[in-house]
Point group: C2
Chain length 101, copies 2
């Protein structure tokens, strides 16, 4: 099982994850992605969903038209683990391909 | 443009929409769908996304693993319109095919 990252390890990982930040009041990380339209936003979600399902590690996310708010945490570990960092990296890579830095 | 439904028309439409209810503090309707797992939840979202895009009328929705919380309102009209009722019906039909009544 993935171990919960220390506050220091979390900060260090976030430094290499543009757009992501710690979530107030929760041991979780979050990013809001803003795309051009719903087509791109849901395209992003579809690709991220395949990654999530493959790794059996799923996001909490909310979509309103062209925005996708994502929160990542590992429930079993009670906080942020390497699995969240990996999914955040994968999401940034997918968004990057859609022109969202 | 779709016209905002009166409170009476909204209640009457909701009576024929199992699982949907009015949203507290907003002129909107909402339903939380609970599926078997992420595969089914995201499958539902994918089918509903195609309907939404085709009709150019999109949901606000949040997915956490097997649950999908949906809120529907028509921003241009400042409330619930026939377009929301139609999307809610389509979502119920898709969920029904996945065994969620």
């Amino acid at each position: 099982m993935a171990e919960r990252l220390s506050a220091e390890a979390r900060k260090s990982a976030l430094a290499e994850l543009p757009g992501w930040s710690e979530t107030a009041g929760r041991d979780a990380i979050a990013r809001t992605f803003t795309f051009k339209d719903f087509n791109e936003a849901f395209g992003f979600m579809s690709r991220a969903a395949l990654v999530a399902e493959k790794n059996d590690h799923h996001p909490e996310w909310k979509n309103v038209y062209k925005t996708v708010e994502v929160v990542l945490a590992t429930h079993d570990a009670g906080g942020v683990t390497k699995r969240d960092i990996d999914l955040a990296k994968a999401m940034n890579a997918i968004a990057g391909q859609l022109g969202v830095a």
